[in-house]
Subunit: 552 residues, 2 copies
Amino acid sequence: MVKISKGTIAYELAKGQRDISIAEFFSRNRHLLGFDNPKKALLTTIKEAVDNSLDACEEADILPEIEIQAIDMGDDRFKVVIEDNGPGIVKKQVPKIFAKLLYGSKFFKLSQSRGQQGIGISASVMYGQLTTGRPAKIISKISKNDPAHYYELVIDTKKNKPDIIKDEVVEWDKNRGTRVEIDLEATYRRGKRSVDAYLKYTAVVNPHATIIYTSPNAEQIIFPRVTDKLPEKPQEIKPHPHGVELGRLIKMLNITKCRTIQSFLKGEFSSVGAGTAKKICENAALRPSRTTSRLSREQAEKLLKGIKKTKIISPPTNCISPIGEKLLKKGLKKEINAEFYCTVTRSPSVYRGNPFLVEVGIAYGGDQRADSKATLMRYANRVPLLYQKGACSITKAARETNWRSYGLSQSSGSLPKAPATILVHIASVWVPFTSESKEAVAHYPEIIKEVTLALQEAGRKLKKYVKRKKKVKAEIKKRDFIKKYIPHIGGALKELNNLDEVKEREVEKLLEEILKQDRGKLKKLGILDNPEYDEEFAKIGRKKDASAKKDK
Amino acid sequence: MVKISKGTIAYELAKGQRDISIAEFFSRNRHLLGFDNPKKALLTTIKEAVDNSLDACEEADILPEIEIQAIDMGDDRFKVVIEDNGPGIVKKQVPKIFAKLLYGSKFFKLSQSRGQQGIGISASVMYGQLTTGRPAKIISKISKNDPAHYYELVIDTKKNKPDIIKDEVVEWDKNRGTRVEIDLEATYRRGKRSVDAYLKYTAVVNPHATIIYTSPNAEQIIFPRVTDKLPEKPQEIKPHPHGVELGRLIKMLNITKCRTIQSFLKGEFSSVGAGTAKKICENAALRPSRTTSRLSREQAEKLLKGIKKTKIISPPTNCISPIGEKLLKKGLKKEINAEFYCTVTRSPSVYRGNPFLVEVGIAYGGDQRADSKATLMRYANRVPLLYQKGACSITKAARETNWRSYGLSQSSGSLPKAPATILVHIASVWVPFTSESKEAVAHYPEIIKEVTLALQEAGRKLKKYVKRKKKVKAEIKKRDFIKKYIPHIGGALKELNNLDEVKEREVEKLLEEILKQDRGKLKKLGILDNPEYDEEFAKIGRKKDASAKKDK
């Protein structure tokens, strides 16, 4: 036994040291989860529930139909109800899914989904309980033949465990689905970062979903689906060897059921066939048939070096489900009244072993204001990001793109000043957010690079339009200019040829027709855009002016 | 028993649903903890260890002496060693403190400290283990008479529990202290957000600490302490009633040992005496002698409304330990070569029931560049914040302050363009950071307001200096201007009075003397700054010029 001097300061300090429950941690750090203020709390609660509903429907191949109600109860209290037609949740999972932080299925899968942490909806329940003292009320039903289960739940924050207040079977006139009801302290305001904006933005990139929203002002807004086709279902993948670090590799080696290094590489990673596995072993100077169980730390390090040295094909891309250029354009057209639309879907790329893909859409001109900066719409896995613009790598890439070379005006380090909306969507099996509230994408260089390339690609498409528009504008200006001279030419011809007034009008009309019909042809003939002619015109004009003055 | 249709989709989905360990969560979301990239990883690891050492020393009333070594092992590997003269850690706590996330004592105390989450140092250990596969090595000793314990530790990420590799008693030539050694993947670069900058910035606001740093280039930099006085020890406080929400109030009522509402209010909160407690009960329409144990949710809500209605004095301020205007100025002077320094320490304020205090220092002029934006140094609880500038409420307040009214040039929404350094320090019992990596302060309106007021107060002090400087500049210009005329006056006087050249020089010298000695007096006499006189001077000047030309 080691002796401890009980009188030392260290012993005093040790008295206070103990476990911190994750629920206590987040209840104090609620702003990390998107509950900084009452306005945002309303948005976050609805967002977490809607994201879950959309994920569940898509996983179960169901076209989503989601009803959202936000009811103003007065006194800064709101009741939020979200009901879906999803697959429902099996009874015993309901309490944990809604009243335990860090619980779920999406964290463990490398596949694209809106939720990924197992925190969001439980955090909303916790916030509601903290601010109103009321439990969340859940109904879920998994099939026509199963009963609907009703729960009233709070979180035991000290233990991060569900506390079940009520557990009943109820009647519910639905075949399947889930209904969540949360009371919370909140405020409602319209505008850029409101619930209304979130749902509108959501509708743009989820054209397969019907969303029915009753606002706190008791207005009903319906976003009907515009396609009956569900998005391509993203497939789950294994990690790519190039994204694996030593610690993880050692852990994987410890728990694998594969006996040899070669079978381990082939079986536990994506993009590794027998040939590649052999090549890795060669580069690592390890026998492919060596058993995995006896590998030391040093040997694992050699294996990792071998992996790094070996060229390995990119991860499969069916784990990512992009919106697609066509649907993205459709979505933009639905919401933004512009003159020109262009969209770009890049091919997938990889950061830290995680496949991801960037899509960009630009809507230009039309109703949009020309005297202010372009609007940037940010999305990650089909979820709009409304807060923390400044911290997001999408914003960084958009600001640092040289929009001047695409014909837009821009002060350096800012979004372009143009009548435009720029939409950026990042889809990935794991989106690296800057905080648990999932409002901004972290600054991974690979991601910033891909977003930049996508913006540039869209920018080049836009440039053609902007250039053409500028040309047309210049042409119109020129035409107006020439038009100004027509009466003078008419007058001059009249003077020279002694025409009467009727003939003069006729000549003028003829000249106008020629101008309107085919300035191009005239140009080809060298009649227009020739400075000599312009000078001639000018002279005639002056003559006319002078004679007109004389007449008076 | 409720029947479950095993064939439903919900049942399939349920198979994947399970607990997520907080260590797994953060190992995948390591950027939340400040491990986004190898450069930052080096900084974060050293920062977490140094913050802990400073906290421990101050808690134990020890003047800190901290040695930091960062050794480049090649191949992007670094060994980091941090050794302090602190109180040490009792044996059985060592594994949990260094190899379990969310473990510690500071989370539960409402008192100002650098650490507050019980995550930082364990996260560093985890990052080291993930990237190098190596355990952290710890030595700790709590007194001369106790043995030094040596541990080699890794985190079992699946369980978030320490995995003890080695546990030995060793010889250590120190009376007490702690030594941490972590191997990690990292890169080292100098510059704005380097380890070097962090330590320099730390030295500015911790004048009582001696820091000895050996950089990866094997240079030794010593920041000696400039005061032997430890900062005032911040006291632990109870929560203030105005920061308590319903959920927390109910929980407090459930676990309190106080029998009546009145004693509960008096005993569990700060700033509540018998009178205030009575007043609250009155405003809540509850009997003060009512027992706490039988309060319903509705009654707790009434109690909260009563609390909100009652005027309660601000929380005690001895829970916060500011640097102070004098020491802050000293710190600034030590590091920045400027012409003018001013500092402001505001009185404490409250956000969500948590007392906090803002200090501002400005260093103006001197070596600093006039053609670029001012440098902003952000601090929270004496820890420099080097990353995520854009997400921080300090930055927001500094950008939105109208610096033009203090004589600096500024484009709207930017830091002023001036040869200046602006230092802002927020001290609080609980700093609301925007992420676990503690790099930016969340946008609480109360905090932004206090920072703004502090900046304005410092701005007004600065204004006086800037104005005086401008005046002096203008004065010098004017003097130079007048000086130009002196020879002409001399010449004119010579002409008028037929003086010889010697006399002319004498007159000129006399005039210069008068100008130098006392332009103020002349001004008072109405001789200078009178446009008529200026015109007269100009005329004489012209005359002189003309005659000079004639002479040629």
